[in-house]
């Protein structure tokens, strides 16, 4: 889309109903910018794209006498949306009127960044991901971002919209905590520290690390801090790389905060523009927010490989108000975060105990030789693994077996079915269409052996589950992955212990570190 650039002195146009938008150039001249579609074609006037407009844009001050559209505000408040997203519900004319009265600002989709171009939504500056089209909207070569295209195409000529009227949550009921449970002493200590962080006024950006073991009851210890944020009439954001986490937390948070509008944002959510005070969003959905949240909680900062992490951090930074408080919540902090905490650069609190007070099960090592060769050539599984599975099944326990590679799943499942023909064995992977169903059947005890390459739903508590890792020497099993995997065992207060066995063909540092990590946590007070 292009804008007409009208010199301010053009008296004939001064009273034009759309001409109230004035960016200043260095010479002190001012211009109106008016969307091409809102005017009759005027060949004598230049047309520009926001991406090509180099001077800073001076937007009009908010006109308090203008009656703004509350629905438009609900959609835009806290967000930065593509014009296309908004014109799907409101007319360009109405949007531009709000611009004229200072309630909405336009900004460019593709921006220059250290001599390159970058997408102003997802931050991509990789030239491979920024492609060119001959654009029918601006009749010119237009750069667009391929990286975040599934959220609507960002290109040189399509502006973003942001809301600049009131930002306060003024329409909320008094928030209240509907959760009746009691925090353990370790949880209480962390919860108090978090409340203190939220209540301390922000003068600059602050971070805080909550290092809590798997099964510590992380969600509950957040409740008091979330409540403190909501009581201050400020929106609270929980960010996570995983849709699973959103789906799992949403019902729990809705119950915990009955007076608060709690919404989950993930690919496939019903209303991606819903208004909310407490939000749980995946990395991608976060990209729709802009400079809004004073309190951000990042859940499971470690759950994905680093590249995802980088995207999450970009998205969080963009969605956060400046200044803001970022709370990291994890069982296995990445190295940089861990050393920042240990060196006192980031304040932190450790929750080394599970909510039920029992220690974490410590993994055991079992050497099994060249298992891969035997599996591929003879379709056989190692004796030690089969023996352990047999014993586990005899004790009426369920087996959760991790593999390093998805393509090994069929062979392993086939071999297991061959050895244990009476036992219900299945496999599940991250993008499995039947994932939910399989997890359900496993929780109900209908599947006895579940083979997988992925950590299932974060909070999944399958009573009495025993964990094996086949091929624990694989590079994919980092220290933190192994700690997370071990954390699946003994979560239930009724059965706080269980086996975690690393079946390997060569001990790795990651295995040793994971065991050391767990033992160290068990020794903390």
């Amino acid at each position: 889309m292009r804008f007409y650039v009208l010199p301010l002195s053009e008296s004939t146009l001064e009273n034009h109903k759309y001409a109230v938008y004035l960016p200043h150039d260095p010479q002190g001249l001012a211009y109106w910018l008016i969307p091409e579609q809102l005017l009759e074609p005027m060949t004598e006037l230049p047309l520009t794209r926001l991406s090509d407009y180099e001077t800073a844009i001076a937007n009009p001050k908010v006109n308090q006498t203008f009656v703004s559209n509350p629905n438009l505000e609900a959609m835009l408040r806290g967000r930065r949306l593509l014009l296309d997203e908004v014109t799907a519900m409101f007319s360009l004319q109405e949007i531009h009127e709000h611009v004229c009265h200072g309630y909405i600002h336009y900004s460019a989709g593709i921006v220059p960044q250290s001599r390159k171009l970058a997408c102003s939504r997802c931050g991509t500056s990789d030239p491979f991901l920024l492609a060119q089209i001959e654009c029918a909207r601006c009749n010119d070569m237009c750069t667009y971002c391929r990286s975040c295209i599934l959220m609507g195409r960002v290109n040189s000529c399509t502006p973003f919209l942001t809301w600049h009227g009131t930002q306060q949550l003024n329409d909320t009921k008094m928030p209240r905590l509907g959760w009746q449970g009691e925090l353990s002493p370790a949880q209480k200590k962390a919860a108090d520290a978090l409340v203190n962080e939220v209540n301390t006024p922000l003068t600059e950006n602050r971070s805080f690390l909550t290092w809590a073991v798997c099964g510590a009851g992380k969600t509950e210890m957040l409740f008091p801090a979330i409540l403190a944020g909501l009581e201050a009439k400020k929106p609270v954001l929980i960010a996570t790389p995983r849709t699973d986490v959103v789906l799992e937390l949403l019902p729990r948070l809705r119950t915990a905060f009955p007076n608060t509008v709690v919404e989950g944002f993930y690919g496939g959510a019903d209303d991606r523009y819903a208004k909310a005070q407490l939000l749980i969003a995946t990395t991608h959905q976060l990209l729709r927010y802009h400079n809004y949240f004073p309190n951000v909680i990042i859940d499971e900062v470690d759950a994905f490989p680093f590249s995802y992490d980088e995207k999450l951090h970009f998205a969080v930074k963009k969605a956060s108000l400046s200044p803001s408080l970022t709370i990291y919540l994890t069982a296995t902090p990445p190295k940089e975060l861990k050393s920042a905490a240990e060196n006192g650069k980031i304040p932190h609190v450790k929750v080394p105990r599970r909510y039920h007070g029992h220690p974490l099960p410590v993994p055991k090592l079992m050497w099994i030789g060249n298992w891969m060769k035997n599996l591929q050539r003879k379709k056989k599984l190692p004796y030690h693994l089969l023996h352990w599975i047999k014993q586990t099944l005899e004790r009426k326990k369920q087996v959760f077996l991790f593999l390093p590679r998805i393509d090994l799943q069929p062979a392993v499942v086939a071999a297991l079915r061959h050895v244990f023909p009476e036992v219900s064995t299945d496999s599940v992977y991250a993008n499995d269409e039947e994932r939910r169903e399989k997890v359900m059947r496993y929780r109900e005890g209908k599947i006895r052996i579940l083979v997988t390459t992925t950590i299932l739903e974060r909070g999944v508590t399958v009573k009495g589950v025993q964990v094996g890792v086949l091929g624990a020497e694989d590079r994919i099993f980092t220290e933190s992955a192994l700690v997370q995997i071990a954390g699946r065992v003994g979560r239930s207060a009724d059965e706080p212990t269980g086996d975690v066995i690393f079946f390997h063909h060569g001990k790795t540092t990651a295995m040793v570190e994971a065991i050391r990590h767990i033992e160290a946590m068990n020794q903390e007070k």
Binding site: F128, A131, I133, A136, Y144, R146, S147, I149, L150
Partner: protein
Amino acid sequence: MHWREHVQANNRCVYCLERFHEDVSWSWLLGITQESILCPDCAEKLERITDISCEMCGRPALSKEESRHASFKAEPEKQCHDCLLWKGKGGIMPVQHRALYTYTPFLQEVIARFKYRGDAEIARLFSGDLKKASRELGHIDIVTVIPLMEERLWERGFNQGLLLAEKFPYVELLERTGAAEKQSKRHRQARIEALDGVFQLTEKGMNVSYDGKRILLIDDIYTTGATLHAAASVFYTNGAKEIFGLTVARATGSLKKTFNT
């Protein structure tokens, strides 16, 4: 290090955007084959149509017995029920059509991102192969594309047909009369009727002579053939001799719900 590792290309997949390695052979070193732009995982999911059962519309073959090679034919003989139906409608001249791929759920996703999300770059996946597939047609006088409605053009920012035809010296000759409604949800019969008179020549198109010309139409998807026939009828009325259609995807059976944004 083995010599092969030195010449392994480090490419990026035009669809999934991931990096991938390609074992390159001597032919590549000698400049005979071109680099792949699709990673092996994505490439494997595309189903190239190599055998057809109808020599007119290029319907993919379902059994060995009815199978014929998918090349264009000088004299198409074997024709399917639908094509005979077109013929029976009277006055409609034939359009020999071929598609590169079966419209599988994967290709549906690819085309959806191309068309509805506006990821123009995906055209590169098909434009070269469309050009190649046209070689066996011999001399073609005019290559053109199906026009978009104004609002669609604004939404997408481009006409996908033009991008698919980028390897051809195409000309834009047609425009929509504005009579057609949104097509995807409608019954086949209803669509065939609705599409009559959907297209007309642009001003520029009216200054071109079609007498005795062989014309090739490029489009993205072939569903019932109604769009191609509607466009072809404009040229046949103006004296064209033979019209061919070349598309990326051939819809065969039931489709997933068409996704729109």
